[in-house]
């Protein structure tokens, strides 16, 4: 099921991931024959309890983990086998900010651009623009230790957006922040994704966050397979939010 738009940017067909020797003692099935398609321009919120395999799905889409069975494709390519083909086409915002401590804020934002081989003037100009967009003007030359948690996460968002990748993967990027900061950053993040026409997969364990961010919510059950798949039109967000919330709560409580 694709829900919504027609062309799929991300596709998981009958994907399973088993850690340890499949069928052997101690083998752990994290993802079980999962079918999931994400349309271009869609903002998918992937929701599930801790340990339900969200991060495994995330790593397979990112090309950091190979599926045991099935096929993952992003823009028609296998992100694990064609790893280098995704240079500049996919960006990740991680749970922690994961800033390189030996680089200043602006140097951290420039990392992806350096890898893409952009000139130093272009890198600096793009990085300055994104830092300014995220409210970090004046902090360009600060090292990560001198920034607050919220500011560091803003730098990591700037780093992801700076490469102008079409696909954004976000692994609970605001979960370590206080609610006020997280809410503000979420709003900025959604605005930036929409304005820049990105396809995004946003992993979260918060129902409110999923409802706030997603065009579509997929709720996973253990081992990661789809329990609920719902398209969130603006009307559905306005009229049926409580019903959807109740359904999700029911699945997560089971």
């Amino acid at each position: 099921m694709m829900n919504g738009l027609e062309k799929s940017a991300i596709s998981l067909d009958q994907v399973s991931k088993v850690f340890g020797k499949a069928g052997g003692a101690g083998a752990f099935t994290a993802v079980d024959t999962l079918d999931l398609q994400v349309a271009q321009g869609q903002m998918l919120a992937l929701l599930g309890k801790t340990g339900c395999g969200k991060s495994t799905i995330f790593n397979m889409i990112a090309g950091l983990t190979e599926p045991t069975k099935g096929r993952v494709t992003v823009d028609g390519h296998d992100p694990f086998r064609d790893f280098d083909a995704f240079r500049g086409k996919m960006a990740i915002v991680f749970q922690g900010d994961r800033l390189l401590p030996w680089r200043t804020a602006i140097e951290n934002v420039q990392l992806g651009l350096e890898i893409l081989g952009k000139s130093s003037e272009e890198r600096r100009s793009i990085a300055e623009r994104w830092l300014e967009t995220l409210g970090l003007r004046g902090h360009e030359n600060d090292y990560p230790h001198a920034l607050s948690g919220g500011m560091r996460q803003r730098v990591s968002i700037a780093r992801a957006f700076a490469t102008n990748a079409n696909i954004l993967l976000c692994d609970e990027p605001f979960s370590a922040l206080d609610e006020m900061t997280a809410r503000k950053l979420r709003a900025e993040f959604v605005k930036l994704v929409k304005e820049n026409g990105k396809t995004a997969v946003f992993i979260t364990h918060s129902i409110n966050e999923a409802l706030e961010i997603g065009d579509r919510i997929v709720v996973l059950k253990r081992p990661a397979n789809i329990a609920i798949d719902v398209l969130l039109t603006p009307e559905a967000k306005a009229d049926k939010q409580d019903v959807i919330r109740g359904q999700i709560q029911g699945v997560l409580a089971a």
């Binding site: 990112a62 950091l64 790893f83 280098d84 995704f86 240079r87 500049g88 996919m90 960006a91 990740i92 991680f94 922690g96 994961r98 390189l100 401590p101 030996w102 680089r103 200043t104 990392l111 992806g112 350096e114 890898i115 090292y143 990560p144 230790h145 001198a146 490469t163």
Partner: protein, 269 residues
């Protein structure tokens, strides 16, 4: 208290702390020097020479090119040996980090090498090699190689998985991964390894020169021993100590520039 008084008292506290820091270095040396100088009044010069004599002998070595060239020879041997050991050690460490088989083979071999005394390597070198420089280079490399390998391996293994994964998510080339992630992440451990091995190397080079060389600080020490010239022995030893202190200071300076990104609390630990 006014702002000016507060600033003044802060500056005074800083000044006192700096003085205390300098004193903590100077006092032990002064006490040892004083005891030595007193001993020189009661014992013959071949046992406890006056520190004034040692000082002038020290200056004599530095200002006389024919003697100072021996100091330079030793310094170059130390640096060449350390550079060789570091390059080979880093290569072995990368191999061990990348391949389980290489790790299982090299790790016990390096541990074995670590257990061989420096003097044994001197004997092996004399038997295996003809040239003096190749002998000393071999001894220096073999005695410092295991430490460099294990220290670089430890640094590679301690690299943050999260940060590596983040850099990998941008799909860097191998060169870029190396320059943007690996080198900055392991640099603190590399500098520590150099500091530790510098001390070891300066001790080993003297043994190597003592037995298998016709020049250098070790060779000169042997000459002083043969004529029971304690002032000369001390003056030549101090040349080496002075070199180690200078290089340690340079490494510390590099650290303070390269690691300026660290929070102050980390640096003051």
């Amino acid at each position: 208290m006014t702002a000016a008084q507060y600033q003044e008292s802060g500056a005074s506290r800083l000044g006192t702390a700096a003085l205390r820091g300098v004193a903590s270095y100077v006092v032990p040396f002064t006490v040892i020097a004083a005891i030595w100088q007193i001993a020189s009044l009661f014992f013959p010069p071949f046992l406890f020479p006056s520190l004034v004599d040692v000082f002038w002998r020290f200056i004599g070595i530095v200002t006389d090119w024919s003697q100072f060239v021996d100091v330079l020879a030793t310094v170059l041997r130390i640096l060449a040996g350390l550079a060789g050991a570091f390059l080979i050690g880093a290569l072995l460490a990368v191999l061990m980090a990348r391949s389980r088989m290489a790790h299982d083979f090299l790790s016990p071999a390096l541990t074995l090498f670590q257990g061989i005394p420096a003097l044994s390597w001197v004997v092996f070198a004399i038997i295996w090699f003809h040239g003096i420089e190749s002998r000393i280079f071999f001894i220096m490399v073999m005695t410092t190689l295991p430490a460099f390998s294990f220290q670089v391996l430890g640094a590679l293994q301690a690299m943050s998985r999260d940060l590596t994964e983040m850099v990998m998510s941008f799909r860097p080339s191998r060169t870029k991964l190396f320059t943007a992630m690996i080198i900055p992440a392991i640099l603190p451990d590399i500098l520590t390894a150099w500091k530790v091995n510098l001390g070891n190397a300066s001790r080993v080079v003297v043994v190597a020169e003592l037995v298998g060389a016709t020049g250098g600080v070790g060779y000169q020490l042997l000459q002083q021993q043969q004529v029971f010239d304690m002032a000369g022995a001390l003056a030549w030893t101090l040349q080496l100590v002075f070199f180690v202190l200078v290089v340690q200071a340079i490494l510390t300076l590099i650290e303070s520039v390269a690691f300026r990104y660290r929070a102050i609390s980390e640096r003051t630990l």
